[in-house]
Symmetry: C2
Subunit: 405 residues, 2 copies
């Protein structure tokens, strides 16, 4: 007998029929003799509906009240799943973040989990109950409700799997697993049987929607065995695990397209020590993830600094930087939302050379201009005009021969 | 400067525009120099939508999960009001039941408030904040979310007013105050300027929708000054207060119609001590309020026992009684939902005789058959066929000369 954490996303719980289907799937696992903890997202569309309401009430909503509001979506689905399971004869209990003491810091809307008290979960499992936990939410020490940011339910699932030392954490979604790229862009994209934590982190951080970045980091850190699979069929899914030898033979595992970022450029910044930290410290303190950072070489003691942030925090980031602007002294700040970021990822890059050259050549042949470049050991990312994003993905997918055969 | 608790019902917060209107009203009170604590219901229709979902998931929903589900409605409105107030420049903070420690017993769906910790509310008021508390909900000692039953937000408001020793508790609703009867039934019904706690309790317990029964009991017990008024205009409303001399001059203050009850009749019950208690004890333990109880005179050592309960717990009550049936030994149990209860209420009945006779005479003249009768010191209730309920109200309203002139 083992302990399995199963997380179901918004499209898997979009209405009562889908929730009942999830209940049946959970019962199948339970009948195989496993203890099951389920983590749920809100019904597809519900979180967006609540966000819209928040912005109607206040164009610049306070993040504490925002979290109080949008955390209701998961509360609805967990209670409904408990009711469905009970109607099928399976004892079940639902828990909100604060009811199983998912303690987070107080950075609302992108809070980080600090600890989970497994006691109540284990007690409930002992009673032959399926335990259902609201994804995406926790509470801080003062009892304020916090949320973990978009896709935070994945993180809840992995964090619970880590806290309970679960044997497996299954992320059920509306796709069969992790693909070489988004099948909506390349119809011949191939499902991967397995992928390393490192690659998955890079893919997730570069816009692959299938798993939230932080959940992969968590899984890697605590060695949680993670599977992504579809809630609509019984296909095997993709195993995310530690790197092994055969993975290195594949040069590129995946290509992502991220259209949700915006570019901020600071013009004529004094090129002296401490400037970058004075700019990025307040941004980091606000919990905003700056992604690509590019600094040009200096001329006359001045430089240009360009970086990308998620579009939804562009306004906030700009405000924070304008605040330190007079102190740091730069000419002006320019924002550009008309960008797309394309990234190719693969642990094979460590041992294969010429990958970057091939990327640049492919884009050049397709007349796609590169605005920014950034690389890691196993990733190459380029920023292009938004209109060219999909074309770039298709060209690279073909160039690196990633299609299914 | 005084402390005012303002409660707004579902129709007053049915969408963002209405919520913004509530925010403006709250700010007006704040600007007059008062501290304000606001208690909100869910958006009109939302609780019903959630109840429907619960029953789709499970025809016989577990009450803990049911409460977990339906308590989300108030969570949405309180956060939205906080956001609206903030957008209008008024600092505000919303709190869920467990965040201000509204401790209840564990009788889900009709829990009773045991205590409220005023500390966090006072701390927040000190920061010039409007405090917004979710109505209808609390949590038990284990941290499970409980709800207080239909109209429970009134109770939350009065309980908070009592706990904070507020100077006034205003219940804002979609009508101007308490009327002699439902104006939808008698268009010439008259708004009362004031009414005694005792009368209001009787009216509320007999189906007047304007205030929840338990909130009036609470207000009377703790001497909370209570006003019912409209959120859509500035009219004065109705003051609910201790009885005073002029009130006694009015024979009948109000007439109610309750179509939400059902009748249960136990046939050929052994007429011996302890039978009634064995029947009603499990019902009471389940937190079900039995209303009228009528027992016929005995024949051959057997009797018939009839009583009414809210229709929504008819099934549950019947189950409970069938369980003790074999033990008690009665012939059969009959349920009838085709009933309406009409009650007339007035403290003047204490000093005026002949009220009952006039009621019976009026109904007789209108060819309305009386199925059950029950009286209190200041109330006479009759059960009639559902079809005759409205007709009975209109006839009595006229006979007792209660119309506005």
């Amino acid at each position: 007998m083992s302990l399995i954490v199963q997380k179901f996303g918004g499209t898997s719980v979009q209405d009562i029929n889908h929730i009942r289907h999830v209940a049946q799937r959970v019962i199948e696992t339970k009948k195989q003799g496993h203890d099951v903890v389920v983590v749920l997202s809100a019904m597809a569309g519900e979180t967006n509906r609540l966000i819209k309401l928040a912005h109607e009430a206040n164009p610049d909503p306070d993040s504490r009240e925002y979290d109080q509001l949008i955390s209701t979506g998961e509360q609805v689905t967990i209670a409904l799943l408990a009711l469905c399971l009970q109607s099928l004869g399976q004892p079940a209990r639902s828990f909100l973040g604060h009811q199983v003491k998912i303690l987070t810091n107080s950075v609302h809307s992108r809070a980080k989990i600090q600890s989970i008290d497994a006691t109540r979960i284990f007690e409930t499992l002992k009673q032959n109950c399926v335990v259902i936990v609201a994804g995406f939410q926790g509470s801080d020490e003062a009892g304020n409700i916090t949320t973990l940011g978009r896709g935070g339910s994945d993180t809840t699932a992995v964090a619970i799997a880590a806290a309970l030392k679960a044997n497996l954490c299954e992320i059920y979604t509306d796709v069969d697993g992790v693909y070489t790229t988004d099948p909506r862009i390349c119809s011949d994209a191939k499902k991967l049987d397995k992928i390393s934590f490192d690659e998955m982190m890079e893919l997730a951080s570069q816009g692959a929607q299938v798993l939230q970045m932080r959940s992969v980091v968590f899984a890697a850190k605590y060695g949680v065995k993670l599977v992504v699979r579809s809630s609509f069929n019984k296909n095997e899914g993709t195993l995310i695990c530690k790197e092994d030898k055969p993975m290195e033979d594949v040069v590129v595992s995946g290509i992502t397209l991220d259209e949700g970022e915006a570019k901020l450029a600071l013009r004529r910044l004094p090129d002296r020590p401490g400037v970058a930290s004075r700019i990025f410290l307040p941004v980091a303190k606000a919990g905003i993830n700056v992604d690509m950072i590019v600094q040009n070489i200096s001329a006359d003691g001045f430089t240009d600094l360009t970086f990308t942030v998620p579009s939804n925090v562009l306004k906030e980031t700009r405000k924070l930087i304008e605040k330190v602007g007079s102190e740091v002294g730069f000419d002006k700040i320019e924002a550009d939302e008309d960008i797309a970021k394309v990234s190719i990822v693969g642990v094979g890059m460590r041992s294969h050379s010429g990958v970057a050259a091939k990327v640049f050549e492919t884009l050049s042949q397709n007349k796609i201009n590169i605005e920014m470049i950034s690389t890691s050991e196993i990733r190459i990312s380029v920023v292009v005009k938004k209109d060219f994003g999909k074309k770039a993905v298709m060209a690279l997918h073909k160039a690196f021969d990633m299609a299914q055969v």
